[in-house]
C-alpha cells in the first residue's frame, strides 16, 4: 500500500484553504479568527491586566496564560464534555510555549495577558490553527512582538511527506506520523514540536524543512489579515 494521491485531492505540499480575520470579538483587547479547511479557531486576548492570586505574579515581567478549549459540539465524534481535560491542558501549555519566544512582556511586571482559544469546529490541526489565531490576536491587542508565529502540521502518510494533515489522513491505516510545529518565520526557529507516529531522522528533518517553507505562506495570510484592519486606506 502506498499513498500516491491525497484523500481530499490536494498536492502533497498544499495547505487547506485558509481564512483569517482580526478584530472579530468587540469585547476583547485583541481577537482573531483562523480557519484552515474545516478547522475553525477563535483567539481572544484580554490584558495586560493585574494577575491574581498574587503568588502567580512575576515581578520582572508579565505572564502569558493560554487556554485551549473545544466547544462541546466541535468534535467529529461524541459530544466533548465541557471543561478542561488532560489533553486540553497539555495543548494550552504547549501553545503558551509556542508563543512566548515572540512576545515581549518586560514592560508589564505583575501583569497577565490572557489568551482564550476556542474551536466551534475541528478537523485535525486544531492546536496549530489555535496558535496561528493566537499570535494574530496578540498582535491585534498591540502586544510588543518580534514576529508572528505560524503553525502547521507536517508528517508522513505511508511513504509520502505531507503538509497540513486532515482527520482522514491522521486516521489513515498504515504508517502515519503527525508532527505539529510552530515556526518564527523571520528566524526559521521552531517554538512548537510534537509528534505522534513513527518516522526516521532523515524524513523528520525533511518534513521540518518543508514546514519552514509552508510557514512563510501562512504568515503572509496572517499579515494580510492584520493589514486589512490597520493599514490606513489611501495613504
Amino acid at each position: 500500500m502506498s499513498y500516491k494521491k491525497r484523500i481530499d485531492g490536494r498536492k502533497f505540499d498544499e495547505l487547506r484553504k485558509i481564512e483569517a480575520k482580526v478584530g472579530v470579538i468587540p469585547n476583547a483587547d485583541g481577537s482573531a479568527y483562523f480557519k484552515i479547511g474545516d478547522t475553525e479557531a477563535y483567539a481572544c486576548v484580554y490584558g495586560p491586566k493585574h494577575l491574581y492570586p498574587k503568588f502567580l505574579q512575576n515581578p520582572t515581567k508579565g505572564v502569558l496564560r493560554c487556554n485551549y478549549n473545544m466547544m462541546p459540539f466541535s468534535g467529529s465524534g461524541d459530544r466533548v464534555r465541557p471543561g478542561p481535560s488532560r489533553r486540553s491542558k497539555e495543548i494550552s501549555l504547549v501553545t503558551e510555549k509556542a508563543l512566548l519566544p515572540v512576545v515581549n512582556l518586560d514592560d508589564f511586571p505583575n501583569a497577565v495577558v490572557d489568551v482564550f482559544i476556542e474551536f466551534p469546529q475541528t478537523d485535525a490541526g486544531s492546536r496549530c490553527a489555535g496558535i496561528c489565531a493566537a499570535s494574530m490576536a496578540l498582535a491585534d491587542a498591540g502586544i510588543v512582538m518580534k514576529d508572528l508565529v505560524a503553525a502547521v502540521s507536517v508528517g508522513k502518510v505511508d511513504d509520502a511527506l505531507v503538509v497540513d494533515l486532515n482527520y482522514n489522513e491522521e486516521s489513515f491505516e498504515g504508517e502515519v506520523a503527525d508532527i505539529p510545529v510552530a515556526v518564527i518565520p523571520s528566524t526559521g526557529e521552531f517554538t512548537l514540536l510534537q509528534m505522534d507516529g513513527i518516522i526516521d531522522k532523515d524524513r523528520l528533518l525533511k518534513a521540518l524543512d518543508t514546514a519552514k517553507k509552508v510557514a512563510e505562506k501562512i504568515v503572509k495570510i496572517q499579515r494580510e489579515a492584520l493589514k486589512n484592519k490597520f493599514e490606513i486606506k489611501g495613504a
Binding site: 481577537s31 466547544m71 467529529s76 465541557p82
Partner: protein, 260 residues
Amino acid sequence: MDYALKDHIKEYLKNDIRYDKRKFDEFRETSIETGVVKNAEGSARVRIGETEVIVGVKFELGEPYPDLQDEGTMSVNVELLAMSSPEFEPGPPGIQAIEMARVVDRGIRESKVIDTKKLCIRKGELVWMINIDICTINDAGNLLDASGIGALAALLDAKFPVEKNGKIDYKKKTSKKLGITKQPLPITVIKINDKFIVDPIHEEELVLESRLTVTTTEDGKICALQKGGDLPLSLDDISKMIDIALAKSKEIRKLFKVIK
C-alpha cells in the same frame, strides 16, 4: 462600571432616551444563520447587535431514566466562554450560566416542542439524548434571548445521525428531522425607572431594577417565565411586560421563516 455611566443611563431614561438611542421596544439588528458547524447535528449562529452566540445540537445514545422508560432526553447547557467578555472566567458554569440554561430549557421542555417519546429506540434500553450547547462569542447584552433564539434555530436545523446496533455513525446524517412544530421564544423585558425596555445592552443590564423573561409560542401561550433583578414587580408591570414580549416574539419569529 463607573457610577457616572450608571447615573447617565438612568437620567436619560427619564427623558425617554436610551443609551444607544433605540426605542424602548426596539431590538438591535438580529440575524440567524443555521448549519454553521459541520460536526454538530444541528447548529445556529445568532447575532443581536454585537452580541453573538453559537448553538450546537449533538445527539447521543443512552439509557432512559428509570421513571420514563420510553422517552428520550433533552438537555441545555450554556458556556459563558471567557473569551466573550472580560467579566467571564474559565471554569465550571457559574450561576448566571446555570440560570440562562435552565430558562432556555424550560421554554423548550414545557412547550413540548420535542416529542421525547419519538426519541425512544428500544423501550427501557436505548434512547436518543439531545444535547443543546450554547457557546457565547461576544457578550454585548441580552445573551438569554440570543440563546433561546439560537437553541430553537439549531433544533430546527438538526438531522438525526445514522444509528446501527446501538452505535452512532456521526459521519452520516439522515434526512430525518426532530419534527419541531412549535416555536418557543424567550423575550426578556427589563424595568428601569418605571420604563420597560427590550433587548438591553450590557450597560443597561447593569442598572436594571427587575427583569422578566417571557417565553411564548406562536399561538400566544406562555410556556416559561423567569423574574430577575432586585426589585419587585406589580401585577400591572407583569401584564405590560408580557404584552411587550408577545409583540416582540412575533417580530423575531418572522426571522425563522427563512429557516428549514
